[in-house]
């Protein structure tokens, strides 16, 4: 029976892959047709093959792998800081109710604040350097972590806490054995959201503030009127965003949802 399920699962994965491949094929086909119609000059719309050539070129000369490495390095560093600080501030918001309430009531503004709007501030406050870029990423994602930590913990059903206190849990043991696990499914959703904010922010910041990185090669493409490089960079940004979300964050969420039986609605 387990084998059956595994077989079914691999079938489903194959189907998904086939669908995705079909979608990409159709998309590229339409692109090729529009290219051949010649509505736009080549400089504004290269053909898929030209973009593929540029891809090969920037992979071959090392500029793409290097840019990806630099961007991800910055992003991970900044995101780690954001998670650590954001979670700590979130806990503080829980601990000090007035502070939490006040900060939470600003949440709509904090969450929807455009990341690009931090760039001028960051340039003047920190400087035109690595830390300036990381600052933009941190400021763009930290509020999402803070608010999600706060609301995830506050939305834990009282019954779990009552049951745990009833069995003698209090203070740190209550926090560690009940609060954190009970909040986890919701915390991961917050993490996914924060990740997407951080990803927006790093590309934006790199376009405006950097001399290396994915955002930078995108912006170089524009300066040299090299649309294939612009498109190649955009595809790279899309693929990385997709891979991280699908194969890391979504997997994590899915695993927890399955363990909790959250998808078993009867």
């Amino acid at each position: 029976m387990i084998k059956d399920i595994q077989l079914k699962k691999s079938h489903r994965n194959l189907d998904d892959a086939a669908n995705a491949a079909l979608f990409i094929a159709i998309f590229t086909g339409i692109w090729q047709i529009i290219f051949m119609l010649g509505i736009w000059p080549i400089i504004s719309l290269p053909s898929p093959v030209m973009v593929a050539e540029t891809f090969a070129k920037i992979i071959w000369n090392g500029s793409l792998p290097q840019s990806i490495g630099i961007t991800l390095g910055r992003l991970l560093g900044a995101f780690a800081i954001s998670i650590t600080l954001g979670t700590l501030i979130g806990f503080t918001m829980i601990k000090f109710k007035g502070f939490g309430k006040t900060l939470n009531s600003f949440s709509a503004g904090l969450l929807s604040f455009p990341s690009i709007a931090w760039v001028p501030f960051s340039i003047l406050f920190i400087g035109f350097n690595e830390f300036g870029i990381m600052f933009v990423v941190i400021m763009s994602s930290i509020f999402s972590i803070m608010i999600s930590t706060y609301s995830s913990i506050r939305n834990i059903p009282t019954i779990y806490l009552d049951a745990a206190r009833n069995m003698g849990a209090k203070g740190f043991s209550l926090f560690r054995h009940v609060t954190i696990p009970a909040a986890t499914p919701s915390l991961i959703i917050g993490l996914r959201q924060a990740w997407s904010f951080a990803w927006h922010a790093i590309i934006g910041a790199e376009i405006l503030m950097s001399i290396v990185g994915l955002g930078h090669i995108l912006s170089v493409g524009r300066e040299f009127l090299d649309m294939s490089q612009v498109i190649a960079s955009m595809v790279t940004i899309f693929v990385i965003g997709l891979l991280v979300d699908r194969f890391l964050l979504y997997k994590m969420e899915d695993r927890i949802r399955r363990k909790w039986g959250l998808d078993h609605h009867r």
Binding site: Y160, A163, G168
Partner: protein
């Protein structure tokens, strides 16, 4: 020996700015090994009373004595079985049962031994490694009972634990609970709005008056066990309690319609 004593427990609630008296001087003595059922119309404050005994809520006045000592905080000496089970979905069945033991610092080997015993008692051994969503409602309540018993409490508190069960499962658990009670000699306080449940389970049934709540009457049921739901000899107790409760339910409906 008196296990638990409630002395003049008073509790008010704030309801839309008005103070509502939920409990108006509850006095109750529970002897060691008693199976006390508290029955009353819904919203009469019987669950509030149980929460106060558990230490999850504090009374405005009055005190609860356990073995003669006043208590005010929750503690593993008074474990509760909640209506919805309140099992932890992130833990396997066995880890749910061991939760309180782990919190109180009991070493792993001993925990395993205790949990095995209660898994066995509640016929859950096959499900030790399941997660709670994989269980039926009846199974979940078995786990909840096992989890509460594993703490070896001085007194077991049960807050309408069978309310969400289908009647066959409930009848089965009603018998099992009596057997467990006889086997473990636990003192139990069982809150329910279901009169037959109280008649089948209790050797004392406390009838709660509608808000402001007081104990209206205590009925002693001295009858052989295990009692079955279909036992006709229990009818007279059933009707006795029903008569007492009828006027309460009518009073409550009037209250609500006003």
């Amino acid at each position: 020996m008196t296990k638990l004593q409630a002395k003049n427990i008073v509790k008010h609630f704030d309801h839309n700015g008005n103070s509502v008296t939920a409990l108006d001087g509850i006095n109750l003595n529970v002897e060691e090994g008693d199976f006390v059922c508290i029955v009353g119309p819904s919203g009469c404050g019987k669950s509030t009373f149980l929460n106060i005994v558990a230490g999850l809520e504090t009374p405005d006045s009055g005190e609860i004595l356990l073995n003669g000592k006043p208590i005010s905080t929750p503690g593993p000496d008074r474990t509760m079985v909640f209506q919805e089970g309140a099992l932890f979905p992130w833990l396997k069945v066995i880890d749910n049962i061991e939760f309180g033991l782990k919190i109180t610092g009991i070493p792993q080997d001993e925990r395993r031994e205790i949990s095995q015993r209660y898994l066995d008692m509640m016929q859950l051994t096959k499900f030790a490694d399941s997660y709670t969503y994989q269980l039926s409602t009846g199974m979940k309540q078995r786990v909840a009972i096992a989890r509460a018993l594993a703490m070896d409490p001085e007194i077991l508190l049960m807050d309408e634990p069978f309310a969400a069960l289908d009647s066959q499962t409930r009848d089965l658990l009603l018998v099992e609970l009596q057997l467990i009670w006889e086997r473990t000699k636990k003192t139990i306080i069982f809150v329910t709005h279901n009169i037959s449940e109280s008649v089948i389970l209790g050797n004392k049934v406390e009838i709660f008056k509608n808000r402001p709540s007081k104990i209206k009457k205590e009925i002693i049921i001295d009858y052989r066990r295990p009692r079955l739901a279909e036992d006709e000899n229990l009818q007279k107790y059933y009707h006795q309690i029903l008569d007492e409760l009828k006027s309460e339910v009518i009073a409550q409906t009037k209250d609500e319609l006003q």
